[in-house]
């Protein structure tokens, strides 16, 4: 009996995740069909590569953001972390051009790790709510970007060809940037779904008290989520300055809301405990396709924000209605 009940329960949870990802996939397909009818250029290899390149950094940062949101937290400092890591690395490679791109990438991830652990420590040891912690560090990290650079930029001519080429090259016809995002996604997927630490992150997000009672080390796992978010932002920062060949004190301002939006559109619940890596990737893809499509069908780029807002609202409303419907049908099954 209990086995059957458990199976049923699991199938309901699977259905929610499955329905959610199928839904957004169908929506993306419809969008692709409509836009490609209007613009033949849309489905060309070079445009598809452009879209994927554009969303690669977003999806890397959004994956870290998603892990934090799954723990019932939020990381508002991602854009500032990205900018600070990018600026620090940019300044270092402009004075030490001998540093290879891989070294720069590691350095960025290291800086991101430090900034992420500051968030993690404040949340776990300082008992400061995540939204407050990261609101504070968002301003602090952004100010530090300005402080270390004095407001100056790091330009393309201060970067080596290899460094800029890091995000321009291709491996097996796949742009490097997309390749790296793919690796991050696969590792994160494995981590969240197939390691006990990953499962514990879901557990503490869906019910912190139960997780604690069950012996899950809540603080360690929370800390880990912020650490990972920081590392991915640091990586995103180095990739960002390589792709756009400049580091500025206002790099990626407002990017935190893009990252949260990608996660939320991809089905990560702001109430914690649910969300998947494929969902986050689909969320980033949808946001990226919309921006790309607007310019292809000659709609003013000023529509971008409004359309993104509507997509976020649609996703949130769909999620709520869907989970309510499934819950109702589950309770109906239970009584019959």
């Amino acid at each position: 009996m209990s086995v059957i009940a458990r199976k049923k329960r699991r199938s309901v949870l699977l259905t929610i995740a499955g329905v959610r990802e199928t839904g957004i996939s169908i929506f993306i397909l419809l969008l692709v069909v409509v836009v490609s009818l209007r613009s033949p250029y849309f489905l060309t290899v070079s445009n598809i590569k452009d879209v994927l390149m554009d969303i690669a950094i977003l999806s890397i940062v959004a994956i870290g953001e998603a892990m934090v949101i799954i723990t019932r937290g939020i990381d508002l400092s991602v854009a500032s972390t990205l900018a600070l890591a990018g600026m620090a690395v940019g300044m270092t490679i402009s004075s030490h051009p001998e540093i290879p791109p891989g070294g720069a990438l590691l350095m960025g991830m290291g800086i991101g790790a430090v900034l992420g652990s500051v968030n993690g420590l404040l949340v776990t040891k300082g008992h400061i709510p995540p939204i407050i912690t990261t609101l504070g560090t968002m301003s602090i990290y952004r100010g530090l970007v300005f402080a270390i650079s004095g407001g100056a930029w790091v330009d393309a001519d201060e970067m080596t060809k290899e460094f800029i080429g890091m995000t321009k090259g291709e491996i097996l016809f796949i742009p490097n940037l997309v390749f790296m995002a793919g690796i991050v996604a696969i590792i994160s997927y494995y981590f969240l779904n197939h390691t006990s630490t990953g499962r514990q992150i879901y557990a503490l997000g869906s019910n912190p008290t139960a997780a604690r009672v069950a012996g899950i080390h809540v603080h360690r796992n929370l800390f880990l989520a912020y650490l990972i978010s920081g590392i991915l932002c640091g990586m995103g920062g180095v990739l960002w300055i390589s792709r756009y060949a400049s580091a500025q004190s206002d790099t990626a301002v407002g990017f935190e809301l893009q990252a949260i939006a990608a996660a939320v559109v991809g089905g990560v619940s702001t109430l914690g405990g649910s969300g998947t890596i494929p969902g986050v990737l689909l969320g980033s893809l949808l946001l990226g396709i919309v921006v790309n499509a607007l310019s292809l069908v000659h709609i003013s780029p000023f529509w971008k924000l409004a359309v993104q807002g509507l997509i976020i609202l649609a996703a949130v409303v769909t999620d709520a209605l869907l989970s309510r419907r499934l819950q109702q049908s589950r309770s109906a099954e239970g009584t019959s």
Partner: protein, 330 residues
Amino acid sequence: MTSLTKAPPKRFIMLSLLLRWEWLLVLLIIVACFVNASLSRYFLDVDNLFDMTFNFMEKSLVALPMTFIIISGNIDLSVASNLAMSAVIMATAFQSGLNIWLAVLLGLCIGTIGGLINGLLVSRLRLPALAVTLGTYALYRGVAFVLLGDLVVKGFPDSFIYIGQGNVLNTPVPVPLLLFSVMAVVFGLVLHRTAFGRLIYAIGNNEEACRYSGVAVNRIKVIIFALSGFMSALAGVIMTARFGSVRPNIAAGLELDVITAVVLGGVDIFGGQGSILGVVLALFLMGITRFGMSLKNVPGQVQSTLIGFLLILAILLPQLLRRFALRSRG
């Protein structure tokens, strides 16, 4: 006997009164004033002090309903976008020939509708406020961009400019400061002296319990979100009058400053606790600190860094003190 048993609680009350958040803020304001006065001899000048308030009255107006919303356990990220949307609609209506005061009325209506939409989505569909207002954050700012693109609306009449830049009669008191003072008193009375205000706290403490005891939770949520929309639009009117122009990116990032002020003012981000007085003090503390730094030509981004530190320290320090006190007692 009775005096013996009564004495400790009394002293405890005195201590807790002294340790109240508001007094800490007052202390910090005094420190900030001392620092500013020693940094610049222009600081302690009546006209200067009054002029200083121009810079933060818009966010102060928005912070009042934000206090209600956060106490009720919700959040509104869309305030600055709503401000921009209503200001842009007001400006374009004025540009196409509408009387300026009718345009202001239109702007206020648009802002209220924007807030109403948030409230309805949060209450009727029971969606998390963070997610809903993240969506409308993008949507409302997007509407502002769709309507105005990269254009600017200018050329407002002097009578309109007056409400953002003028002083009351012949006193040095700025009009926005007077408006804010009146609003702060009204919001304070509503929150601390009416049943409606008590219910906001109750919802923040336990929403489910409120629903089961027959509190019209949905209606209250709709009202406070609509109020937030109205005050955002009002702040938009003042800001437009102060700048004398409107762009779609007006007040970008204001929502974070507002939330910082509310939390610094001692409002619990999880709801159920806080006071208008604390928020007003925090607004002035932030305003004075920023003003002092701009007197010394500290760039805006470094100012934000300090505000960020202030926010984290304000929450971390009392906790550390409490822990220290417990340890030394135990």
